[in-house]
Amino acid sequence: MTAPILEMRAITKTFPGVTALSDVNFTVAPGEIHAICGENGAGKSTLMKVLSGVHPHGSYEGEILFGGEPVAFKDIRASERRGIVIIHQELALIPHLSIAENIFLGNEVATNGVISWNETLRRATGLLRRVGLPDKPQTRISDIGVGRQQLVEIAKALSKEVRLLILDEPTAALNDEDSGKLLDLILELREQGIACIMISHKLNEIRRVADSVTILRDGRTIETLAVRESSGETADVSEDRIIRGMVGRDLDNRFPERTRYTGEDAGRTALSVANWTVRHPIDQQRKVVDNVSLTVRRGEIVGIAGLMGAGRTELAMSVFGRSYGRYESGTVQVDETEVRTRTVPEAVKHGIAYVTEDRKTYGLNLIDNINRNISLASLPGLAPRGVVHEHEERRVAERYRESMNIKAPTVFEVVQRLSGGNQQKVVLSKWIHADPDVLILDEPTRGIDIGAKYEIYAVIDQLAARGKAVLFISSELPELLGMCDRIYTMAAGRMTGEVPREEATQEVLMRHMTKDRS
């Protein structure tokens, strides 16, 4: 066996309070395509950020050998100079500039600060031919589709004389045809001696192109499997094997005992979404949510599992006042009556609440205090004749500060200064006080510590026990298994399964979640 092109040894990376990577070893052979698999939060992106210098040398422990010699990158430019190029999931192209300008952005073909356009175009044309892109280099990025933009990113990487290409979920935003083209290109690049690390959730893609696969879980390397022997024949790595590696962790999260709702309308359908289809707000060819139907009964907690990009958040936000994408078709029923939820106020009026996955962008007014954040969604109730009853508002906020155990000296603390867990409790308080019948919780425990998680689970349990219908979106399977009565799975915008609690295991869910479109 030849010497590896990349060796990462005993990498440990900690963020305040969290160990993101712990003693990770990772090796890439020259000219191989090496896939990295793992659940959301397993540490894949962090590992790549360590490698590419986003987390500079010194901020992690362990050592990196590239081409046999130790390296210490202080930023991305340092790693690019050595031929390591990372292509992020969100493309980093400037939409108003041309293909050629984007390829050479930050790396312009210039003498004494003056750009040579002829040389730029000549080189760009060559690179575009190499990646098989028929467009002219003068074409604006905004005029070509996402699939072609992905190719431009690769051309940009090639312009930097790449030796190791890192692709973070390269096909997540692409349709089947574009995905196929991209994978072919990666195989071609391998022929030219360029090694490639590919983070992917799509197991069939991994089986198609990868030579080996490394599985990460909870910040550790679990195992590295050879997908293809060096002789070229496919080794026996089944998707089941990979899935088991991805999810096989101990259930060390704890969950409160579920309390049953015993009201007379228990079991009645509270929310029913039928044939819901939504298109991407910009790329209108893509159906982000494709003919989805689901129901949630009173007192029931229903999970939605899915990997990143499966369309869960998009489904939730579009149901909640069409806050995402372009609505195409579908109906919403609350309490078995069809309702219109075309705007957020309409959705709120019909008793639907949505607690966002991104509390800082969509959930909180960070510069305002706890008091006013909690009251924002229910001001009319606190304001007879349009004037806010301040003392009542403050008393409500104090009540939630106590009952939700929000750790802050007073309700006038600015939410920016609270920890993630406490911020999440503020968002939850806001929507609980709005007293909805249906709560859609989108990753309610993301980025908060174990103790606070338990408190949030307890709150969710109490909501269901009071007869609320809860739709629980999460990327953490143990949490869904621990809390939900039923779990839907989504992949690529479609419902791919509905699993009752008794039958649900991580393996079953993961199989549904990684189903490709049929």
Binding site: F320, G321, S323, V344, P345, V348, Y354, T356, T361, Y362, G363, L364, N365, L366, I367, D368, N369, R372, S375, L376, A377, L379, P380, A383, G386, V387, V388, E390, H391, R394, R395, E398, K407, A408, P409, T410, F412, E413, V414, Q416, R417, K430
Partner: protein, 412 residues
């Protein structure tokens, strides 16, 4: 000055849960620290007043100059109050100076050229302002064009319209009733005293009202079991309020009494302050400026709120236009030049944030007064307008720099 429109002032930055110290000094200090911006500007205003009071050998606070100060700055203060709402909502309005001119011109045409009764002309003028605000609000809120661009267009548009309406000429004079909006005082009544009687009565009423307000607030806070200021500090606060109102009342009463325009401004300050603090729409304005996406997802009707903010600005610009025309006793094509910039500067000096979501109506007034006293004081000591501009520019920069520094120090 009233205290009704200040935001909740008891926001301790303490980090340890529950264990706040209750000693009066600590409470006061905590309150001071968190309201650094507002108090900082009040202190700066007081400092500037004292400085010029000494520098001008006491001319600054002579009763006639105080009246003059109020009347001279009224239109900027009116604009600044409306501008504060716009800035809090996360927008800007560059057109108000031109709108002042246009509405002034329309009032002149109606009253002087066509002999409209001035009350009717006043009402129509305010409606014109509302329509202009609605026009701009439509493009900003419903079409989604940035306010900077829409109001830049408005700035050109209304200035041009002014020149068309006036055919490039000033027109004058206005009837006395109209002039009184800016130049008049409330009429004297009752027997001769050394002071202006209705002003004294008003002063007593305002004092009583403020004390009542303080007392009711305190009682409610106790009733709801919320933290209250320690009793002795609270008494001190009440004494300070009474002293300030009494001093102001006596100053005004020893000249010609309360200027009409002061009543208008106080009404606006109390009304808008109340709306911003207590009304649902006020909360929605802060929420929109603070985080538009989160506000929308909480059910705030962002388009309607934005639209109404600009309608309000239009009406206030029209009011300022009427006041300015009345003060000048003429409608001129150049009226309101750079008023928009003065109003915007007043807001930023008074604690507004460029990114929206922060600021109070009282802050805008304080900011406007800082600029106004500087103008007046510097003119009294004979500093030329050239140097005045330089100094005002530096004051604006210093106020905002202080803000930035203060925020970084607190570490948010």
């Amino acid at each position: 000055m009233t205290t009704t429109s200040t935001p909740p002032t008891d926001t301790p930055p303490g980090r340890d849960g529950g264990g706040q110290s209750r000693s009066p000094g600590a409470v006061l200090l905590r309150s001071l620290r968190t309201n650094m911006r507002q108090y900082g500007m009040l202190v700066a205003l007081a400092f500037i007043i004292v400085l010029f009071q000494i520098w001008t050998d006491g001319t600054l606070l002579l009763p006639n100059n105080v009246s003059n100060l109020i009347q001279q700055n009224s239109y900027i203060l009116i604009l600044a109050m409306g501008m504060m709402l716009v800035i809090v909502a996360g927008h800007i309005d560059l057109s108000v100076g031109s709108l002042v001119a246009f509405v002034g011109a329309m009032s002149g045409v109606m009253i002087i050229k066509h002999d409209f009764p001035w009350v009717l002309a006043l009402i129509i003028s305010l409606l014109i302002g509302a329509a202009a605000g609605a026009w701009q609000g439509f493009w900003i809120a419903y079409v989604g064009i940035p306010a900077f661009i829409v109001t830049l267009a408005g700035m050109l548009l209304f200035r041009g319209a002014t020149q068309i309406v006036l055919e490039g000429q000033s027109i004058a004079p206005y009837p006395e009733g109209f002039q009184n909006i800016a130049q008049g005082f409330i009429p004297e009544m009752g027997p001769y005293t050394q002071y202006h009687n209705p002003t004294l009565v008003l002063g007593v009423l305002v004092t009583a009202f403020l004390l009542f307000q303080e007392w009711r607030d305190r009682r409610r806070q106790v009733q709801y079991e919320l933290d209250v200021l320690p009793f002795n500090i609270w008494v001190l606060k009440c004494v300070a309020i009474v002293a300030a109102v009494v001093a102001f009342t006596l100053t005004l009463a020893s000249f010609r009494g309360v200027p009409v325009v002061l009543l208008i401004m106080c009404g606006l300050l109390i009304g808008l302050g109340y709306v911003m603090r207590n009304a649902v729409i006020g909360r929605h304005i802060y929420a929109l400026g603070g985080n538009k996406a989160a506000a929308k997802l909480s059910g705030v009707k962002d388009q309607r709120v934005t639209f109404l903010v600009f309608v309000n600005m239009g009406v206030l610009a029209a009011l300022a236009g009427v006041v300015y025309a009345a003060r000048l006793n003429a409608a001129t094509p150049n009226a309101g030049n750079v008023f928009e910039l003065e109003a915007i500067a007043a807001c930023f000096i008074g604690g507004a944030s460029m990114s929206g979501g922060v600021g109070t109506v009282l802050g805008a007034v304080i900011g406007g007064l800082v600029l106004g006293v500087l103008n007046n004081g510097m003119s009294l000591v004979g500093i030329g307008t050239d140097y005045q501009q330089v100094i005002k520019g530096l004051v604006l920069l210093a106020a905002v720099a202080f803000d930035v520094w203060n925020k970084r120090r607190v570490g948010s």
